[in-house]
Amino acid sequence: MTAMPDQDVEMGRAPAPMPNKIRTQHVSVYYGDKCAIKDVSLDIESNRVTAFIGPSGCGKSTFLRCINRMNDTIDICRVDGSIVLDGTDIYDSKIDVVQLRARVGMVFQKPNPFPKSIYDNVAYGPRIHGLVSGRGETDDVVEASLNRAGLWDEVKDRLQDPGTSLSGGQQQRLCIARAIAVQPEVILMDEPCSALDPIATARIEELIDELRANYTIIIVTHSMQQAARVSQRTAFFHLGDLIEFGDTEQVFTNPIEQKTQDYITGRFG
C-alpha cells in the first residue's frame, strides 16, 4: 500500500494533489447499441475519496462497475478505452479478474450480506483467495476487518449469528468489512447509504473518512451534501458525459460548467 494518511484535507482549502491510482482514458460503455458512457477520461488520486454525482441514469454506476470489471457479468455490455490501475491496463487479456477484484473491492447500494454467519461473511474473501490458513489467522483477519469497519464492538459476541440478522446500517458496515478483509487497494461504493437512515448514514460517512487513510475510495452518491461531506474530488456526469471533474470544494462552490451549476442548485435532476 503506497500512500500515507493525508491530514491536510479540510473543507475550504484545496487538498494537495496525490499520485494517481487509476487513469481512465476515452472510456465508452455500451449496453447493446445504447451508449451509457461516452468517452470519459479522468484520473483517480490515491488515498482520496472521489465522488461521482449526477442525475439517475446518467451512467455513474456503469462507470464505477468498469473499474472492477463487474460489467463483464452483463452479457450485452461492452467497454472501450483504457483503464489503468497502477500502470497496468485492467482490460488487458492477461489480467485475471479474480485478482483484479481482490485489489478493487465493491460495496453495493443495498446491503447484501451472504446467507452465512457474520464471521463467515467476513472470512469469505480471504478464504477464496487463499489469504488465510487455519482458524487462528482467519480469526485475526475477521477481527481486524470488523474493527476497521467499526463493527467489532457491536458484533463480537454474536459472530455466529446470520449476517442478515443485523440492522441495515450494520449490514452495510459488514459488507464494508467483507470488502476490506481481502486487503484491497481501491474500494468502490455505489450509493452505499441510499437504503439507510440518517444515523446509520452518518456512521458510514465517518467510516469512509477514516478508510481514506489506507484505501483509495470512489463513491457514487445521489446526495450532494454527502458528496460535499465525504469527498475530496467530485466528478459530475450527465447523460453519459463527464461534464466536470475537480476538487469537491471548487465543484460545489465555483463550478465551471453551467450544467453543474444548474444541477447543484437543484434546477434539474
Binding site: Q99, F108, N112, F114, G125, V182
Partner: protein, 459 residues
C-alpha cells in the same frame, strides 16, 4: 329431450339478460348515470332468476326421481310378485327395468310383467317431460319475478355479487367436502380393518401375505398383514429414485440458472417439461422392457444374480421420471436468489462455481429442500412404474437387485379382481392407503412450510 331443455334454458337466460338490461335503460331513458348499477348487472340479475330456479328443479328431479319411480313401479306390480322375497323381488324389478331399456333379461317376461315394463317406460318418459315443463315454467316465472324487480334504484350489482360469492363458496365447499369424504372413508375402512388385524401387527409385522380363507379349512387361511416389507420396499425404491433425481435434477437446474445462455435455456426448459409430460405408464414399460433386462444382463455380467424385476430398475426409471420435477422447482428457487448476492460474491473475486457453492446454494437451500420433499412424496405415491417393474413379492431385503413391492402396488393388487368388500384382504388396502396418505401429507406440509419460510426471507 335433455338437449332441448338445455337449449331452451340458455335461450331463456339470454332473453332474460336482454330484457333486464333494456328495462333498466328504459327506466332512465337510455341514460346510464342515474342507474344504481351498470345495465349488464340488471341483465345478469334477471338471467340468474331464470337459471337458478330451473337448476333447482332439475337438481331435485335428479335427486328424487329414482325413489319416486321405484315406489310407483312397486305399487303397480301384481300382488304375487310383490309377495316375493326381497332378493327375488329385486331381480324381477331389474328384469323389468332392463327390458324397458331394451337390454338383456334373465328370463322372458310374462305378459303381465310386460305390461308393467311398458308402464315403467311410460312413467319415466312422462316424468322427464313433466320435469322439463316444470323447469321451463320455473325459468319463465323467475324471469317475470326478476324483471319486475328491475327499477333504476334497484341494487342489482349487490345482488349479483352476492350470488357470485355464494356460487364460489359452494364450489369450494364441494372441493373440500370431497377431500374430507375421501379421508373419512379411508379412516372408517381402516378402522374396520384394524378390528380384524391389530395395528401392532400391521405396523410392525415382518410378514406380508394378504390371504384370507373363505372357509376355515382352506389353504392360505393364515393371512399375514405385517406391512414392514412393503414399506421397506417403498423406502428402497424411493431412495434409489432420489439418488438419481436429486443430483441430476439439481445440477441441471444449476446449469440452467447460472451457466446456460438464455438461448440454450429457452430450448432445454421445454425439453425437460416434455419429460415431465410423459405418461407414467410409458415410463413403466420402459422400465419393465428395457431397463430391467439391461440391469439383469449387466448384473449377470458381473456374476451377480439379478431378478428380472428389480428394485433397481423401478427406482432408476422413477428417478428419471422425477428429474424434471426436481430441476424445474430448483431452477425457480435458484432464480429467486437475489442478483445482489451474486454481484456481491463476484465483486469479491469469487468464481462462478465458488459463488454457486458458497452463496447461491445456501441461499436457495430451503427451497431446494422443499422441492426435494415434494419429489419424495411423488415417488412414494407413484404406482405405474413399480407395478410394471418392481414385482409383487413382499421381500424384506436390502438388496436392490431383488424384486420388492411397494405400498401402492399392493393396494392395486388387493383391489383388482373380484373382492368381498369386508374381508381383511380388501380392507388392508384402505389401511395402507391411510398410512400412505399420512406420510405424503406430512411430507407436503413440511415441504410447503420450508418453501414458505424461504419466500418470506427474500420478497
Amino acid at each position: 329431450m335433455t338437449t332441448l331443455l338445455i337449449v331452451v334454458l340458455l335461450g331463456l337466460s339470454a332473453i332474460a339478460f336482454q330484457t333486464g338490461r333494456k328495462k333498466a335503460l328504459r327506466a332512465t331513458a337510455g341514460n346510464i348515470a342515474p342507474l344504481h348499477s351498470l345495465p349488464t348487472y340488471y341483465g345478469t340479475y334477471v338471467a340468474l332468476w331464470v337459471g337458478i330456479p330451473s337448476l333447482i328443479v332439475i337438481g331435485l328431479w335428479l335427486a328424487f326421481e329414482p325413489q319416486i319411480i321405484n315406489a310407483l313401479l312397486l305399487a303397480a306390480l301384481p300382488g304375487d310378485v310383490r309377495g316375493l322375497s326381497p332378493a327375488e323381488l329385486g331381480l324381477q324389478i331389474n328384469d323389468i327395468k332392463n327390458h324397458a331399456a331394451g337390454g338383456i333379461t334373465s328370463s322372458e317376461l310374462s305378459p303381465r310383467l310386460q305390461e308393467v315394463a311398458d308402464y315403467y317406460l311410460g312413467l319415466r318418459q312422462n316424468g322427464l317431460l313433466g320435469m322439463t315443463i316444470v323447469a321451463v315454467a320455473a325459468g319463465v316465472g323467475g324471469l317475470a319475478v326478476g324483471w319486475r324487480h328491475v327499477t333504476s334504484t334497484f341494487r342489482a350489482r349487490n345482488h349479483v355479487e352476492r350470488t357470485i360469492r355464494v356460487v364460489l363458496i359452494i364450489a369450494s365447499s364441494i372441493a373440500i367436502l370431497t377431500t374430507v369424504g375421501i379421508v373419512l372413508s379411508l379412516l372408517f375402512e381402516s378402522i374396520r380393518f384394524f378390528a380384524q388385524v391389530s395395528p401392532i401387527e400391521f405396523l410392525f409385522g415382518l410378514q406380508w401375505s394378504p390371504q384370507t380363507a373363505l372357509r376355515a379349512d382352506q389353504v392360505g387361511q393364515s393371512g399375514a398383514f405385517g406391512a414392514v416389507p412393503i414399506f421397506a420396499g417403498t423406502l428402497m425404491i424411493t431412495i434409489i429414485a432420489m439418488a438419481i433425481a436429486v443430483p441430476i435434477g439439481l445440477f441441471s437446474a444449476i446449469y440452467m440458472a447460472e451457466y446456460a445462455s438464455s438461448q440454450f435455456r429457452s430450448v432445454i426448459k421445454p425439453v425437460l417439461e416434455v419429460l415431465a409430460g410423459i405418461p407414467t405408464v410409458v415410463y413403466g414399460f420402459f422400465a419393465a422392457l428395457t431397463v430391467a433386462p439391461a440391469i439383469r444382463g449387466f448384473g449377470e455380467g458381473l456374476g451377480l444374480s439379478v431378478a428380472s424385476e428389480s428394485a433397481l430398475a423401478a427406482g432408476l426409471v422413477m428417478g428419471i421420471m422425477i428429474i424434471p420435477f426436481v430441476s424445474s422447482l430448483s431452477d425457480d428457487v435458484i432464480n429467486a436468489v437475489p442478483q445482489s448476492l451474486r454481484d456481491g460474491s463476484y465483486a469479491m473475486g469469487a468464481t462462478k462455481s465458488e459463488t454457486v457453492r458458497q452463496v447461491i446454494l445456501p441461499a436457495a437451500l430451503p427451497g431446494i429442500v422443499g422441492s426435494v420433499l415434494l419429489a419424495v412424496s411423488r415417488a412414494i405415491g407413484e404406482t405405474m412404474i413399480v407395478v410394471m417393474a418392481a414385482g409383487l413379492s413382499a421381500n424384506l431385503t436390502a438388496n436392490p437387485f431383488e424384486a420388492v413391492t411397494t405400498v401402492t402396488v399392493q393396494i392395486v393388487t388387493l383391489l383388482t379382481g373380484d373382492q368381498e368388500f369386508d374381508s381383511a384382504k380388501t380392507l388392508a388396502a384402505f389401511a395402507l392407503g391411510l398410512v400412505l396418505f399420512i406420510i405424503t401429507l406430512g411430507l407436503n406440509v413440511v415441504a410447503l412450510r420450508v418453501v414458505r419460510r424461504y419466500r418470506e426471507k427474500y420478497d
